[in-house]
Amino acid sequence: MTAIAVDWTRCDGHGLCARLLPEKIGLDEWGYPLVLDPEIEPHLVGAARRAAAACPALALRVR
């Protein structure tokens, strides 16, 4: 199963991941990603990879 993880030392709270993968990522009151569920089902793997590639801080990892 594919899973996502945030590298908190890199994340700057740009929030793009929450826009590109709203099924799995929300934002907290300070604009940082709240991973609602780290497990990525097959139909969301493409969106998860796009979200990771779009992160300006390279803080979202897909494994």
């Binding site: 945030v6 590298d7 908190w8 030392t9 890199r10 994340c11 700057d12 709270g13 907290d28 009151e29 300070w30 604009g31 940082y32 709240l34």
Partner: protein
Amino acid sequence: MTVTDPVATAPSHPFGAPRLLAGVAAHRALTWAEHRAVHGVPALRPRAWLLESLRAVNLLGRGGAAFPVAVKLEAMPLGGPMTVLVNGSEGEPASCKDRALMTVAPHLVIDGALVVTHALGATGATIAVHDHRAHAALAAALAERPDAAAVTLALTRAGFAGGEIRAVVNGLTTGLARPGGRRDLPHDRGLDGRPTFASNVETFAQIAVLARLGAAGYAETGTRDEPGTSLVTLVGDVVQAGVLEVANGTPLDALLPGRPGAPVLVGGFHGTWVRSTAGLTIDRAALRASGAPLGAGVIARPHPGTCVLAEVAAVSQWLAEESAGQCGPCFFGLPALAEDVRAFAAGQGSEAQLLRRASQVRGRGACAHPDGAVQFMTSALVALADDIEVHRAHGTCGRPPSSILAIPRRTS
């Protein structure tokens, strides 16, 4: 708080005969001759012997996480270059036990480092310490003995997150004492990128004692599940303030005579406030199961007639400022939470808001600092519920602030 706190050496040993602090009478280091009279020369054992003995006595790491030492040792590779890191950074501000141990029994720490270095066939051991007195005691001890050429001493930067093992590794390797974003564990990638067996100074002293006594001898004190002794730092209204070595299984109530139901902090600045210690003992698994892990061994009880809520607010503020600033949820979340706690002390505050914010910080950082700080704040909310009601009704409780937890001065 400094290492000048008394190392308690009551001759009657009401909490069991000391082992790590055996022979310590004055507040100075045992010389190598004195140390050998008590402990002999280090008992160097093969890896398999040490691993089996660590398993038999269920030795748990003494830095705070209580990770099984046998599991850590087993994770080390069977050959190739590797190293040993003795963490004497003692990041927990309320704890003095590591500094006390290094200052009065430096040779036992060195013995432990030599035992592990030998068992693993490691190239050497590094003892990382930030306290100048402890550093001086270890340096003098190393200069005194001919068998410790493989042991080097490193002076590190102080700081709470800076004492976390991966931060110490980063500090020694890159000069920047901060935990990394990737969850690299020292046994894979430690000092200079090499596999590293890293643990707390007390763990190494316990290993030295275990190597000498063997598992059966080691298990003659303590409990069945956790044999041996523990160093604890007792703070505030306690049986004896300072560092004490107690047999595992010692009831907390014996360390906290009288005043049942008074708030007690177990574990320190990353610890848990509880309202009842009845039935709790120095037993890491049982304390964890009760929701109040022993952490680095701090047990603190504010003095009667003081405002604990005020002290909780002050410590929360410090915890927020101590964020290394790497991770957003910690950097923004802890100050917001500290402000929530301050509001309770001012007779206001929203429990729902604090709990919601706590859930947004917990588990969302590169190290354990945000989780520990959240535990301190949220447990206080429960344990001090009566006080919070009094503050809400009157805006104050009219008592002077408690101040048993010395908040460290900012170093950077």
